[in-house]
């Protein structure tokens, strides 16, 4: 039964996930990241609930938002418990990257049908991945229980998003689901590309830092040494200076 909720791609990656979750520091990182993502997703769903004109969807989005925010709390609390236990360095918490909510979906500009299709695809994917995580976390029953709990909610999320999508878009719901899948793929590509660009950019800037900057750094330090502390008079500039960015 557990295997049925897991995609073949995720099953294929199970050894990688096992390697990632085995290490407590990586586990804390992952939990903190999930905490951020779920909380961001909850915020976006809350926004969707506030924007939709459909009363039933408003209630369902709100329920979903509360679930996501609770998941965020569960992840953060578990990470905190691991950090407080003292086995992991405190600065793990500072280095965890933030989540991206509903995959950078612009909730304010999306229709209910697009939103539901996207949510369904995202929840399905998360459920598949979380099922793998639950299976590889046998050595950490507390974290495993969190995934069990969340997987229960994910079932509800998957069901209601599909039911409601069929309700609001009986003719085009399949097309909407395909479009949501393609959008997720495209967003994943953009994230990878921008991360790669960030790494390359960072490397180039670091090289420039050590090659180009030393001379300017020396001059700047000399100038700093000549500067006094305390109050400095402010040079009065004419009103025309407001045209300048300098």
């Amino acid at each position: 039964m557990q295997r049925s909720s897991t995609s073949s791609f995720d099953r294929l990656l199970a050894p990688v996930h096992h390697w990632i979750w085995r290490n407590p520091e990586r586990r804390v990182q992952k939990l903190l990241r999930f905490g951020e993502t779920e909380t961001d997703g909850g915020r976006d769903l809350l926004r969707a609930a506030e924007l939709t004109r459909d009363p039933l969807l408003r209630r369902l989005y709100l329920l979903h938002a509360v679930d996501e925010q609770r998941h965020g709390t569960l992840f953060r609390r578990r990470a905190a418990a691991m950090l407080v236990s003292g086995t992991i360095a405190d600065d793990r918490a500072e280095t965890a990257p933030a989540g991206h909510g509903l995959d950078d979906l612009d909730v304010a500009r999306e229709s209910d049908e697009t939103m539901l299709a996207f949510l369904h695809v995202a929840e399905r994917s998360a459920a598949s991945r979380f099922a793998v995580y639950r299976n590889v976390l046998r050595s950490d029953p507390e974290t495993q229980r969190i995934f069990d709990d969340i997987l229960h909610d994910e079932k509800f999320h998957m069901n209601y998003t599909l039911t409601q999508l069929v309700r609001v878009s009986p003719e085009r719901h399949r097309a909407k689901l395909w479009r949501a899948r393609l959008t997720r793929l495209w967003n994943a590509y953009l994230r990878v590309a921008s991360a790669l660009a960030g790494v390359i950019g960072g490397a180039i800037l670091t090289v420039q830092y050590f090659v180009v900057l030393p001379l300017f750094a020396m001059l700047s330090k000399r100038a700093a040494a000549r500067e006094g502390e305390g109050w400095r008079a402010i040079a009065q500039r004419g009103a025309d200076s407001m045209r300048s960015q300098y």
């Binding site: 915020r43 506030e50 709100l62 329920l63 407080v84 960072g202 407001m242």
Partner: protein, 585 residues
Amino acid sequence: MKILGISAHYHDAAAALIVDGVPVCAVQEERLSRRKNDAAFPLAAIEWCLDSAGVAPESLDAVVFYERPMLKFDRILTTALRAFPRSWRMFPKAMKNSLGEKVWVRGIVSSHLGVPAKKILFTEHHQSHAAAAFLTAPTRRAAILTTDGVGEWATMTAGLGEREPGGKTSIALLREIRFPHSLGMLYSTFTAYLGFKVNEDEYKVMGLAGYGKPSLVDEVRRTIRRTPDGAFALDLDYFDFHTTAARSYSSRFVELFGPPRNPFEPIDLETENGRRFADIAASVQRVLEEVLVEIARALQRETGARDLCLGGGVALNGVANARILAESGFERVFVPPAPGDAGCAIGAALYADRLYFRNADRDVPDHPFWGPEVSGAELARIASEDGQQVGECGDEAIVDDLMNGAIVGWMDGALEFGPRALGHRSILAAPHDVAMRDRINREIKYREQFRPFAPVVPVEVADRYFELPRGGARLGRFMSGVFPVRPEWREKLAAITHVDGTARVQTLERPMAPRLYALLEEYGRRSGVPVLLNTSLNLAGEPIVNRAVEGYSTFLRCGIDVLVAGRTRVVKRGSLLVKRKEDVA
């Protein structure tokens, strides 16, 4: 003349529109995007300002950005150079961050609004703070003191403002203290050390300080020393914020104060470590107050002004503001409702109006309600769709609710501009019982027990319950001062009295929020004490609500019993969120 002011890209982005010298609307981006402290370019806020005033972008006479981006970039680059080679990790991040968007403000504004580049103006960051503080205050001549983390280079400026009704305006910022020497950065460093979020949780340090003793002031003074000219300088050996983005305090700082607090570990004031953190908070708070009071006192002697206008994020420190009022020699201290960066949107626009275009001085309405209006009809529609108990109501019904111990979500009129809920988007409750404070903390705010709640009281009777010095009522207008609760009332006002016997009181004049004022009067008639607990209508981690639907979703997710928008009153009939999910799916 129509001028749009914009603040963005650091924290708390906002837009404000000035028409013929007077603000007509202003709103923080977070209130529309629903992302707390949203720093993104405030497109939604700009759109709302222009739409609500019926102004087309092409008819704007100027768009004013609240700081000079290239001067800021100069500071960031110079700081990296001066910290070479320790800044090697920070440098790529800082460059990517700055060069990605922040230095292209002229192009961004021009492309979004279709405004020609020549109409786009720039003030200096602290000029914006100064204008926001001075030009919105009901004073003709005042000393000006602005203090924050950092703008372009300045972290503190001192000067003098003068304006003649219908005549000229002058804002002369005479001197400044420059980065990295910064009171804001000092406080933020301790905020980070105490495990709170920088630029967001500084007020938690102030709240925690009430539980501690300032037993470590000598240690704090080693990190910040006074200079012979009355200013101050940080001992940079204790700080790392100028060399790395990862940590603001150095290992020497940790040697001096001990291990930092793990942000994931709650502060337990019963433990030695918890008390140590409270003592550190009390000590840095004390040193901050001392420095500010001495600088303000010197400024008063120098200018001879009777009034002081405070601007910048540090002006949100109500305890320090109260000490400045009491000890610096100024008769009145003015703090605008949004002294932080959001308020710079109004400040920048006003500065351009008075000092660039040289328009005649005009009084600015003395209130914070510049945002979108709430709609009672919208609340009635949504709540009815959910089968909630909805009705039209007068204030008597709400007073009944409050008398019966209900927690009331209160939305009335236009949204506040700035971080404080000043009576238009508030949670109101009876202020008498500690159990009420604990209930709001537990069921609504989900926050630390050491953080106090604020009271609101009619200005005419404020002195009966609170020890307000001369000028204290003015400082309390926008909840900018912390004052002692009179000892004989502390027990009866237990929910709003902090552990040190103080409260961040809002003194309300009838014209500013007539409905809330009437509610206070009626509550006073019925309970004998015209004071209510007033905290912002939002949940932890979320911005203050704007529209009725946001108030409603907040209402459903927490322990608020009654929600009011305009004349519409909704009584919670059990939460929809406890229904079985399968029933609604």
